[in-house]
Amino acid sequence: MELTDAGLVARVLVDDDQHAFGELVRRHQSTVRGLLRQLTRGDFALADDLAQDAFVRAYKNIRGFRGEAKFSTWLYRIAYNCFREDARRRKELVGINEEQWQAEQDPQTVDPGLRHDLMHALSLLPLHERSAILLCCQNGLSHDEAARVLEIPLGTVKTNVLRGREKLKKTLAVWAQ
């Protein structure tokens, strides 16, 4: 029988079982790396470096996981913190402003293909809206869980999701018809 995440975490806690932690990494690497790839606007190498850092941090701080939230939510929070710290270092934390976003709505700049358009539209969103959209709409977290990951109030998450969705819908209006 396959162990649950909580069971694997218990093995890491009790026996320092690195194989159990390896299984946790295997289970969650795709979503964590995917989230970071989107947050870094498609910089795969940077995203993978941040994901590695996030998993190593998770291992070192696994005693801080109290089981109050899902393991994946706890992991997203660490990954997001890694991204935020790196962004601060690179001084790229501030997302592009509204004027810039509006200016980039020129249809000539958008390549064909829904997926490409969607990724492009996502990358144009300010960081706070992009993060909320990725966590809630793409990774299926509740607003409450996303608020924990992003360490912002629940109301702010809801607003960010709403605004992000509106912008995405506006950009992808042609595809939705």
Binding site: Q18, G22, G34, R37, A51, Q138, N139, A176
Partner: protein, 113 residues
């Protein structure tokens, strides 16, 4: 197209746009970066306890003139009524059992959480 359908469509497309990323050695690289597990205190604790007990016993033996007090105390023990000895043994057994049950329950609760 109403609001809810539009929202569902967008969420579905967002989920479809995030395909599974193959591991390609990622997990192995993470495991290589993990710190090596350190020798834990749990392994050292019994060794320290046994060592300290042996040292204390040897010291007591030497300082008490070859353990003469032990003979005196053993003689005193023989004068204790049998009923007291039985009661003491029972009480000790129950105390140890209660301790074991408490430890097992704490460990189970910890693993379940």
């Amino acid at each position: 197209m109403n609001e809810q359908i539009e929202q569902d469509w967008l969420d579905r497309k967002l989920q479809e746009a995030a395909p599974y990323i193959e591991d390609d050695g990622f997990t192995a690289r993470v495991l290589q970066q993990l710190p090596t597990p350190q020798l834990r205190w749990q392994f050292l604790r019994p060794l320290i306890l046994v060592g300290m007990s042996a040292f204390a016993s040897a010291l007591t033996y030497v300082l008490s003139d070859g353990g003469r007090f032990l003979l005196v105390e053993m003689f005193k023990l023989t004068t204790i009524p049998t009923l007291w000895v039985v009661a003491f043994a029972l009480a000790s057994g129950m105390l140890v059992m209660a301790g074991g049950i408490f430890a097992a329950m704490s460990k189970t609760a910890h693993l379940e959480s």
